[in-house]
Amino acid sequence: MHFDPAILVDYWPLLLQGAWLTLQVSVAALLLGYAAGIAVALIALTPGWLPRLVAGFYVEILRNIPFIIILFVVYYGLPFWGIRLPATLVGTVALALFASAYYAEIVRAAILALPRGQFESARAIGMSPANAMWHVVAPQILRALVPPSTNMTLTMMKESAVLSSITVPELTYQSLVVQGNTFAPFEVFAAVASIYWLIAAAIAEASRRLERRVGAVQAEAVSRNRIADRYLSLVARRT
């Protein structure tokens, strides 16, 4: 067998379209999922056992089910409740849902890592919880959030390949189309793997830039306790 990239010449536009959609879906799911993740983290930190239990269930359920099953539950669940959306939107929502559980753990751990006195001194002077979060907590945890969030975003981008199974025309779906037309699996998947690898590299680079921009946090702010570190490194591991 020989390797002949020329076979793909007619199919580059298709693959690039797929790559573009993969990128779009990932960015949309990042924004949506992060917003949901912050909300879940704040619920988890609300005093009282009930909010903590609810948030805990949310996180544990989503983290222990394969993404492909979450995808199908959403895919069949939305019409079941009378909601009809295009497949790409369904896929984005499912991806955001999946990622939100991990983002929630990242945000929660970062908040817990901040000394309690920071939030308390803001509350004691009369700031509302929202203001204390916004003016005092958020700016201090931003930097600690970047590395684990990047990791999770990379994982999520890779999981988006699964959207091909509900016919979202992203990169993996297009690669199967091209494979069906060319019967040149080696060339097709070498190309597709390289594109994924480039997208991953682009996300990592974007994260490095972001980290540099929020890098101005003072030394004292990053002091954190060991328990929180354990959570942080847990989510930074693999998902």
Partner: protein
């Protein structure tokens, strides 16, 4: 001495997991007074200050700041009405607290630490807040440190920023949790001087301290707390010269022989 005390604490009780930490505390602090709160480690001094800022919710009892109830109030007919979070937050600037570890916000400059709460909580304009913040920092001898971040300040300077942060809210009362303990012993005199300046402008203060000498040279009145109760309260001279409570006597004996009490000292009456 006006009729309405700046701080009135009555029957304040706080339990942690069934363990009573504050046991029916009564305390009045009148305008312009400096009250030192002394007592052995673990007797509940910090817990009392945290309850006075509602960082801990007391299980029972009432707090009044300048005549206004904080947290809950007794309505006619003996009904206790709990205040909403907003009501509590609205009264909080009235009680300035300086924590043992100061808890300055490390991502803001010294000046910004003082300015931000004014704009966020009191709705002051940035100009006005900056003017007020700069004036306070200047008066506390930090004119050339305003643009520094907390990590570039000494312990004593951090404390003065924390004081300015609380003062900028125009509080009726200032609370200090062991203002000398996080600083080098040489700085005790400096802290004393700062608190005296506050006294000169008529600030009312409740100061938790381990240092009897510090209490003696600063306070008008001294309250002695043990096992969550205030056992004796009165003019500083009388308390130090002629303590009535045996536990206060032995506490003073211990502290005087030691001078600086070790933080881990157990309840000396045991």
């Amino acid at each position: 001495m006006s009729a309405v005390p700046v701080l009135r604490v009555s029957n304040l009780t706080k339990r942690f997991h069934g363990v009573t930490t504050l046991d029916q505390v009564y305390l009045d602090v009148h305008a312009g007074q400096i009250v030192a709160l002394i007592g052995p480690s673990g007797c509940g001094k910090s817990t009392l200050l945290r309850c006075l800022t509602w960082l801990e919710q007391p299980d029972d009892g009432f707090i009044e700041v300048a005549g206004k109830p904080l947290g809950r109030e007794l309505m006619p007919g003996g009904v206790v009405r709990r205040h909403s979070r907003r009501q509590i937050d609205a009264l909080r600037p009235q009680v300035g607290i300086v924590f043992q570890q100061f808890h300055l916000w490390p991502h803001m400059t010294a000046l910004e630490n003082v300015v931000r709460p004014q704009t966020v909580v009191l709705g002051r304009s940035r100009d006005e807040a900056t003017r007020r913040g700069a004036e306070l920092l200047m008066r506390l001898g930090l004119a050339d440190r305003m643009d520094r971040h907390p990590h570039a300040l000494s312990g004593g300077q951090k404390q003065r920023v924390a004081i300015a942060r609380a003062l900028a809210m125009d509080p009726a009362l200032m609370l200090f949790d062991e203002p000398t303990s996080a600083l080098d012993p040489e700085l005790v005199g400096e802290v004393l001087a700062v608190l005296r300046t506050l006294a000169d402008i008529g600030m009312t203060m409740l100061v938790v301290t381990h240092e009897i000498g510090f209490a003696a040279s600063l306070a008008d009145r001294i309250a002695f707390m043990d096992r969550g109760r205030i056992l004796e309260e009165g003019p500083a001279r009388d308390i130090l010269a002629a303590p009535k409570e045996p536990r206060l006597q032995s506490f003073l004996d211990l502290v005087r022989t030691d001078h600086r009490i070790v933080r881990t000292t157990a309840n000396p009456t045991e």
